[in-house]
């Protein structure tokens, strides 16, 4: 299958700040492509450029074979977009929201009814069809938005943090729908997230930090690049322990939240037996596990992906939204 999204040398500069510093990637038709990175890494800016919302400062992007700058309207007709913030009209009913979308996208009259029924069924909202959206829960609104994004049978569905701000149960449901969608409609899904477990579902993951792609591969391959297993220990004297481990085993130790020291070894279980026997400083906890995508990020950047402090996060968001004006 061909590439549905092609991006080369994509850059976005704002006055005093380069949000995206040259991104190259392609997305194959029918895959779930994940964009992983901390808040402010440039994920949303990239997705906004791909979906013609903002104009790239440099570089080229093509979606469904159409150029994102010169063939905007064709790109727009080929994509569905689900933003971080709700873009429903809450004063209208679910049906009215969907009907308007059909008209905006020029879906033929005879097909509308059938399509609306179909997408409502996918997200289990058939019985709420004539209710005002205002009365919906957060999760239901999200599902309705996904349904709406599907109405015009987009080739690519862009989901910007589709589950942010939802409770774990609703998040799980949303994912069920997304996977169902991929199976049923064979649609290509391009999503951004900073939840690790969500990125694991993707066929391929691009890791973004500071406006640049720092890795792009399948989640399995990314994790195996980390090399071996992850050992996490906490001791009564972490500073000394860190030095000793680094000297003895020639491996890089990272200090994590909750007083944990984390490092990688090739054969985890055998290593652990020897390590516990030999280590002088009293250990308070020991843990062995397979690497996760969080470790991948840690391995690549030396930092964990986590919520940045609010002020910093808001600052970044503002920069991005304000940018083009």
């Amino acid at each position: 299958m061909g590439n549905i999204v092609e991006v080369s040398g994509l850059k976005k500069r704002y006055k005093d700040f380069e949000a995206v510093k040259g991104v190259d990637l392609y997305v194959k038709e029918g895959e779930i492509f994940g964009f992983l990175g901390p808040n402010g890494a440039g994920k949303s800016t990239t997705i906004n450029m791909l979906s013609t919302i903002i104009k790239p400062s440099e570089g080229m992007a093509k979606v469904n074979g159409y150029d994102n700058v010169t063939e905007k309207n064709k790109v727009r007709a080929s994509i569905g977009l689900i933003f971080q913030e709700s873009t429903l009209d809450e004063k209208l009913t679910a049906n009215e929201n969907l009907m308007l979308h059909c008209k905006f996208y020029g879906i033929e009259k005879q097909k509308r009814e059938e399509r609306i029924q179909e997408v409502l069924q996918i997200v289990d909202l058939t019985d709420r069809r004539s209710d005002i959206v205002e009365t919906f829960s957060g999760g239901m609104k999200r599902r309705l938005e996904i349904a709406r994004g599907l109405l015009h049978y987009p080739k690519v569905l862009f989901l910007d943090e589709p589950t942010v701000g939802l409770d774990p149960q609703t998040r799980a449901h949303i994912w069920e729908y997304i996977l169902k969608l991929k199976e049923k409609a064979g649609i290509t899904i391009f999503l951004t997230t900073h939840y690790m477990d969500e990125a694991e579902i993707c066929d391929r993951v691009a890791v973004m930090d500071n406006g640049q792609l720092i890795a792009l591969d399948t989640p399995e391959q990314l994790k195996s690049n980390v090399g071996g297993d992850i050992i996490e220990v906490s001791t009564e004297d972490n500073q000394t322990a860190k030095k000793i481990i680094e000297d003895t085993y020639q491996t890089e130790v990272t200090e994590m939240e909750n007083n944990l020291l984390s490092f990688q070894v090739s054969k985890g279980s055998e290593f652990l037996v020897e390590f516990v026997k030999q280590f002088d400083i009293p250990l308070t906890s020991v843990n062995l596990r397979r690497p996760t995508l969080n470790d991948v990020f840690l391995h690549l950047t030396g930092r964990e992906i986590r919520e940045e402090t609010v002020s910093q996060k808001d600052l970044m968001k503002k920069n991005m939204q304000r940018g083009p004006h």
């Binding site: 933003f83 709700s86 873009t87 429903l88 009209d89 004063k91 209208l92 008209k103 905006f104 709406r148």
Partner: protein, 275 residues
């Protein structure tokens, strides 16, 4: 085309669904017409030479104000309709509209038509006051009023969109509209007769597009042709520019030209909006 209708339809659906706004829209005209108008009418008629006879005896301030109040309702509703553009930006729906394959021009036209339609309905609803104030309105007048109201509403909705396209918060928008609409209203002859004004004010009145809009409503409803010339003058119904009495068709042309200018500017400005 379908897109224009969809955008228009959304505004119209929302107008009829919002009961509070529907009822609230009667409040201002009611106050002006009944409280202010009735209060002023006594004072007005005594100022008109205290005439209990002669042509000026027919002067009824409430009746005089009525076309102006219809005008005021149409202006306000039309120009404020663009508030929805700012609110859509604030609540995110504008993105849904802007990322669709519809052209920016259709979106702008749809918005202007939506605002004009809503303002037309509001204006027509003011006819509810007719039985209480003793004006007689015929069906012919209503059929004349409809296109004129729509034309005036179209001009002001476009002006509203032009302003809304440059703004990001609804507070900002409301502020600017208030500052703009009040002087325009006072200098339009909607609330008092345009007679015996100082020269500077006369100038402002003549360059105010609302003057010609209000005058059209007056010409339809008050039928100045059938009035005694002295009464017509006292009511300020002989609108002149450079000693030429403006005719109804000239007023239509003025407002139509302004509509075209405003809608073109608004569309151009709106097309630059980024989601």
């Amino acid at each position: 085309m379908e897109g224009i209708i969809a955008i228009w339809q959304r505004d119209v659906i929302k107008f009829f669904r919002d009961r509070a706004r529907l009822i609230g829209s009667f409040a201002m005209p009611f106050m002006f017409l009944i409280l202010f108008g009735s209060g002023m009418s006594g004072a007005m008629s005594s100022m008109m030479g205290g005439a209990n006879q002669g042509p000026l005896a027919d002067f009824d301030f409430v009746q005089f104000m009525f076309p102006g109040i219809i005008g005021m309702t149409v202006f306000n509703t039309a120009i404020f309709s663009a508030l929805s553009v700012v609110q859509d930006k604030e609540f995110g729906y504008m993105r849904e509209i802007l990322v669709s394959p519809m052209s920016r021009v259709s979106i702008a036209i749809g918005k202007v038509l939506g605002g004009s339609t809503v303002a037309l309905f509001q204006g027509l609803m003011m006819l509810i006051f007719v039985p209480f104030i003793g004006v007689s309105i015929s069906f012919v007048m209503i059929f004349q009023l409809i296109p004129v109201m729509f034309l005036v509403a179209f001009a002001l909705s476009s002006l509203g969109l032009l302003i809304a396209s440059s703004l990001k918060t609804s507070q900002g928008f409301q502020m600017i509209i208030q500052i703009l609409i009040f002087p325009m209203l006072f200098l339009s002859g909607a609330l008092f007769p345009l007679s015996g004004m100082p020269a500077w004010m006369n100038f402002l009145v003549k360059i105010n597009p609302l003057t010609y809009s209000v005058d059209m409503f007056k010409k339809i409803i008050l039928q100045p042709d059938q009035m005694a010339p002295a009464l017509r003058e006292a009511m300020g119904l002989d609108l002149t520019v450079f000693n030429h009495i403006i005719t109804f068709s000239e007023e239509i042309i003025v407002v139509a030209l302004l509509s075209i200018i405003f809608v073109v500017l608004a569309t151009m400005r709106f097309s630059r909006t980024e989601a």
